[in-house]
Symmetry: C2
Subunit: 326 residues, 2 copies
C-alpha cells in the first residue's frame, strides 16, 4: 500500500538533505508518495507565517512526515508539527561512527524524550513588566506513556541499561510524579532501571557515555542532554530523530539549518538519511531500515566525506555513494 | 579584624575535606575564627532536621560560610543555606589542571549561575493525583543582578568572551525577560557578549570548551552545564564554587558526599581548598587566594595524588603537600 509522506524541507540545508533522503528511499522497493510541504523563513516572509495551515494539515493527514531543518523560527515550526503528528516520544539515538572523529568514540546512546510537557507545555505569563512565570506541567498519563514507550524500546533493542533522568530533588512534585510513574510502570512491566539526576548525568555522560544505553527523560532535559551527546559523537551532523505518536510520526535530523553552508550543496545528509531509516523501521520495514543504516555507515567509514567530516565531497557525491552501497 | 567563618562539614567526605581547607587557611597570616555548624544525615537522624535553625543562624551571622558536602538530603541543606547567606550568584570555575586527566584539557570556564530563581523558586503543586505543576519565576531585578555581577566578574578577570545562556525560543517570556535584561545591562555597561541556547551550548562546550570563558546562566541551566563542564575537566572532584550575596557568601566544592570513599581519609580536598581560595578573594585577600591556588596547582602537577587522580595519597598527605607549597 502506498504510504503518503509529507516532505517538509524547511530552511537552509533542509533543502539539500531532504532530497538526499528521498533519493535513498526511492531506491528501495517500497511504495512512497512524497508530497512537499512549505515551511520556513522564506514562507514567513511571503505568507506571514512560517508554517501555513496547509502544511500542518498535510502532516496530520500523511502516514508520516520527513522534516529537513529550521532556522531562527524553528520553535514556531517544529513544535507545532510535533503536536500535529501527536507525537509523545522523541527518540534520539546518539552514536559514534567509525571513521568520524568523536570526543567519546564509545558513545552509543538513545534518548527517549517526553515530547509534550514540561516547560514546553508553555503556560507563560508576564505578570508585570518585571516578573514572568512559566508553568511547567507533568501529568501521570504522559509520564506513563513515555516510560512505557522507553521501556519497550529498550526491550526491543536489547538495551543493557535503562536510566530515568530527572531533577526530582528540586522539582519534587513535577519530576517526582515523573519518576514515581516510571517506577510504577517498571514494576508492572518487570523492568530494571536506574534513576539519575540530570546534572550528575551530564557529568557522567561526558566521562563515561559507554555506561549508558537508553535514557528516558523529561522534555527539556532530553533536549539538552541529547545535544550534549551530539557533542560526544562529533556534532549534530550525525543525529537522526523520530517524533512518534500512536498513529503518526515525524522524522528529522537533530541539526539546524546551518546558514553558513546552506546553498553550497555540501551539507552532510547522514542525519537526515538516518532519520529516514527510522521512518522505515516505524513502518515495520526493518530490513530496509537496516540496509540504509549499513550503507550510511559504510560510506562514513571509507567513502567520500563532506567538509564537516574533513572531506570535500558534495551532498550529492555522498548520497550517490550511499545509493551504491544499498 | 577577625573574620568569623561558619564551618559546616555536612556529610561523608565533607568531614574530611573541610578540615583540610581549614588547615590551609590557618597557615596563612589572617585572622579567622571558625565556628562549626551541624548539618547532614546524622543530624537529621538525631534531631529530625538535616539543617537545625542554629546552623542557619550561624551562617546568617558569620562573615562567610565554608560548606563541605551533602548526601541525599543535599537539597534540604544547601538550598536553604544559599538563601540564608542571601546569595544571588553561584560562581563555578571549571578548569582543567595540568597533570589531571581531562576529557578536554583546554577547558577554562566560569559559570555565573543565577542562584535564586527559575524552577528553584519552587512554587509547585499537585493539582490532582495525576497532575503536577511548577511555576518557574524570572524577575527583572534578579536577572539584572546576575547580569551585572557576571559582566563585572568577566571584566575583573579579563574574560575573552561572555556568553548568556538561555532557552528563550521556548521559554519566551521567562527566559525572554532574562536575556532582554542582560541586553539592557550590557548596553548600560558597554559590554560585548553573545547569547547561546542551552542545548546548542551543551554541544559546543563538549566540542570546543576553549571557545568559552564566562557563561551567565539561569539557575537550572547553570546546574546542568557546570556539571557537564566538570565532566570535561575530569570530574566534580576539582570544581570549587562560591555563592555570593551583597553582604555574605558561602563557599563549597561542587562535589557531593562520596559515600563510597567517605571515612577512608582519601578524599581529594582540591575543590574544597580551591573554594577556600575563592573565599580569600571574596574578602579581598587576593594574594593569599592566589598563593593557595598556586600551591594546589603545583601539588596537582607533581605532588602526591589521591586515588581519584590515580595515586594512593591520603587527604592528609595531599594537604601537607599543599601546606609545604604555601
Ligand atoms: C527548536 C527547538 C524548539 C527544539 C526543541 O527545543 O525541542 C530543538 O532544540 C530540538 O531539540 O529539536
Ligand atoms: C543538591 C542540589 C539541590 C544542588 C542544585 O541543584 O543546585 C546541586 O546539584 C548543586 O548544583 O549544588
Amino acid at each position: 500500500m502506498t504510504k503518503q509522506i509529507a516532505a517538509i524541507p524547511g530552511d537552509g540545508i533542509g533543502q539539500e538533505v531532504l532530497p538526499a533522503a528521498i533519493d535513498v528511499l526511492e531506491a528501495l522497493d517500497r511504495d512512497f508518495e512524497f508530497v512537499e510541504g512549505r515551511a520556513g523563513n522564506a514562507v514567513y516572509e511571503r505568507e506571514g507565517t512560517p508554517l501555513p495551515e496547509e502544511t500542518r494539515e498535510l502532516a496530520r493527514e500523511a502516514d508520516a512526515t520527513l522534516f529537513g531543518a529550521a532556522g531562527e523560527l524553528a520553535a514556531d515550526i517544529i513544535l507545532p508539527l510535533r503536536q500535529d503528528v501527536e507525537s509523545f516520544a522523541n527518540i534520539r539515538p546518539a552514536r559514534a561512527y567509525p571513521g568520524v572523529d568523536a570526543v567519546k568514540p564509545e558513545t552509543d546512546l538513545v534518548f527517549v524524550r517526553e515530547n509534550t510537557q514540561g516547560v514546553y507545555a508553555g503556560f507563560e505569563s508576564d505578570l508585570t513588566d518585571d516578573v514572568a512565570t512559566l508553568t511547567r506541567l507533568i501529568t501521570e498519563d504522559a509520564s506513563r506513556k513515555i516510560a512505557e514507550y522507553g521501556f519497550e524500546y529498550a526491550d526491543e533493542h536489547d538495551a543493557d541499561r535503562i536510566t530515568v533522568a530527572h531533577k526530582a530533588n528540586v522539582m519534587r512534585k513535577t519530576d517526582g510524579l515523573f519518576v514515581d510513574t516510571a517506577a510504577e510502570v517498571a514494576e508492572e512491566m518487570d523492568v530494571e532501571y536506574d534513576e539519575a539526576l540530570i546534572d550528575a548525568l551530564a557529568m557522567h555522560l561526558v566521562l563515561h557515555p559507554e555506561d549508558y544505553d537508553v535514557i528516558v527523560t523529561p522534555n527539556l532535559a532530553g533536549d539538552v542532554l541529547s545535544d550534549l551527546a551530539a557533542g560526544l559523537v562529533g556534532g549534530l551532523g550525525m543525529l537522526p530523530s523520530a517524533n512518534v505518536g500512536d498513529d503518526n510520526a515525524l522524522f528529522e535530523p537533530v541539526h539546524g539549518s546551518a546558514p553558513d553552508i546552506a546553498g553550497e550543496g555540501v551539507a552532510n545528509p547522514s542525519a537526515m538519511i538516518l532519520s529516514a531509516a527510522m521512518m522505515l523501521e516505524y513502518f515495520g520495514y526493518d530490513e530496509d531500515g537496516q540496509r540504509v543504516r549499513n550503507a550510511v555507515e559504510t560510506v562514513l567509514e571509507d567513502g567520500p566525506r563532506t567538509p564537516d567530516l574533513g572531506g570535500d565531497a558534495s551532498t550529492e557525491t555522498f548520497t550517490d555513494a550511499v545509493l551504491e552501497q544499498l
